[in-house]
């Protein structure tokens, strides 16, 4: 233990990672707006196009990855037939969904039935836009970033609830109610975990929070508080994503498909896509707040090592951290059995929430006494 903490201490003594000036796409557009409005519109259009490309690539990549990883966890190969090692499988599936008939049940509430996938994908797009992937690519960088993340995250639950309720189907209704109760419950813990990083970084802006980790990631620097908050956030976001072991809203063996039982064709595709992109966003936010975002890993004293680490571009660091967390979420799925609903509620309200409160006060005391590693930028 002493060796470990002295290692951390060494890591945190005075190494400052490469500092870039992060500029969001929206800021860049706003700067040139006054004299060159078309350039500004060009920036915005380019940013949006890249984001949509991101959406499709990440969505398909994650679906392929999930199937492959699931396969290998179960000693199978996963998709192998379509394209090299099944690489074209996801494209084939998407095309199939596009040409599938869009069936709306006669008894469903038609307007809400269409609105629900819109809300789901809207929440996902809004959250994706704020992810600081590299210093140069972050679409919007609002100064209330962390609040924005939690606020936008809770639009998604509206999509789920409306989708389940409007289907007028018992499976959908049960799935939607379970999803609603679960997501709003775990949202509280996730918010408290984010609050701890806000407390340490003293800012809500995501780019500022990343910059504040130039000389140490918050998960190390904040003693125990950061580690507890990180794991709380990981558990809470697994629950918010409705992933195993918290997949009661769509437990296949109980509820057919949960809230999207009555969805078919493209509308189902939107729920599916939103779910996978949300997984990416949750991992990216965790990586940004706790693991230093695009900051490289550094150890004080090892200058050669640090130089090599700094040579790796920030985008790669971000991708590696996010990808690692996504792999962890997929690993969870094949490791833990599903919880019962009373265990689920008990875990949140009787364990995570009290722990979150105590952790918050602990972090506040740490800051007040100055008991954290390395100086915090003013």
């Amino acid at each position: 233990m002493t060796a470990f903490s002295s290692f951390l201490f060494n890591y945190l003594n005075g190494v400052t990672a490469n500092v870039y000036e992060p500029v969001s796409v929206a800021t860049r557009a706003a700067e040139v707006w006054a004299h060159e409005p078309w350039l500004a519109i060009g920036w915005l259009a380019l940013g949006m196009a890249v984001m949509l490309g991101f959406l499709v690539v990440i969505g398909m990549g994650l679906i392929y990855g999930e199937r492959k990883i699931a396969g290998h966890f179960q000693c199978r190969l996963g998709p192998m037939r379509v394209g090299w090692h099944g690489l074209l499988q996801v494209i084939a599936d998407t095309l199939k969904l596009l040409v599938k008939e869009d069936v709306v049940p006669a008894k469903a509430d038609k307007v809400l039935h269409v609105l629900a996938p819109v809300l789901a994908i809207m929440a996902t797009l809004l959250a994706l836009a704020i992810v600081p992937a590299t210093p140069w690519f972050q679409l919007i960088d609002v100064n209330i970033g962390v609040i924005y993340v939690t606020a936008v995250g809770s639009i998604g639950v509206l999509g789920v609830l409306i989708g389940g309720w409007s289907s007028n189907n018992k499976w959908s209704l049960l799935g939607a109610m379970r999803a609603g109760a679960q997501i709003i419950s775990y949202e509280v813990s996730a918010t408290l975990a984010l609050l701890i990083i806000v407390l340490f970084a003293g800012s809500l802006q995501l780019s500022t929070i990343v910059e504040s980790q130039a000389d140490g990631w918050w998960i190390w620097r904040s003693h125990l508080a950061g580690i507890v908050a990180f794991f709380t956030f990981l558990i809470a976001s697994t629950a918010e994503l409705n992933r195993t072991p918290f997949d009661l809203p769509e437990g296949e063996s109980e509820l057919t498909a949960g809230f999207h039982t009555e969805y078919s064709g493209m509308r189902f595709a939107f729920f599916f896509l939103a779910e996978f992109i949300n997984m990416f966003v949750a991992s990216a936010i965790a990586a940004t707040l706790f693991l230093g975002g695009w900051m490289p890993f550094q150890i004080a004293g090892l200058d050669g090592f640090n130089a090599v680490m700094q040579a790796i571009p920030p985008g790669v660091w971000f991708a590696v951290k996010t990808g690692g967390l996504i792999f962890l979420l997929m690993w969870f799925r094949w490791t833990f059995p599903r919880l019962r609903i009373d265990q689920l509620m008990g875990l949140e309200w009787k364990f995570l929430l009290p722990v979150g409160f105590v952790n918050l006060l602990f972090a506040a005391v740490l800051i007040l006494m100055g008991w954290y590693f390395a100086p915090i930028p003013a």
Partner: protein, 116 residues
């Protein structure tokens, strides 16, 4: 500019879903009617509507969530300025959290979060 982009993205979500539904309407077969549009219930005929009164437990969880989420929203500004406020801030936040914690214990003892 950041917030303008937020609204653009909200619009984009609508456009994306509308566009893909239109494309799929053109490409995909569309023959509604008959048994196809009945509610799915594992092959059984549906009995009664699904828009029913639901277990009150969900409502209570919703209320609890409201309280604690609003609390978190109140804590955010405190967390941002915490370093300049210092001990006074810690005491005030401590009192605030303590009162809410009592509320949680009350709800716990009342059996709201025991679920069954």
């Amino acid at each position: 500019m950041d917030y303008i982009l937020v609204f653009v993205i909200i619009g984009l979500a609508f456009v994306m879903v509308a566009a893909s539904l239109i494309i799929s309407r053109i490409l995909a077969p569309y023959h509604p009617g008959g048994m196809k549009n009945t509610t799915y219930e594992s092959g059984q005929k549906t009995i009664g509507p699904s828009w029913i009164q639901f277990n009150v437990g969900y409502y209570l969880i919703g209320l609890l969530f409201l309280i604690f989420d609003v609390e978190a929203a109140f804590l955010f500004p405190g967390a941002v300025v915490f370093r300049s406020v210092g001990l006074a801030g810690l005491i005030e936040i401590g009192i605030f959290i303590f009162i809410l914690f009592l509320g949680l214990i009350y709800a716990w003892k009342k059996g709201v979060i025991n679920w069954v």
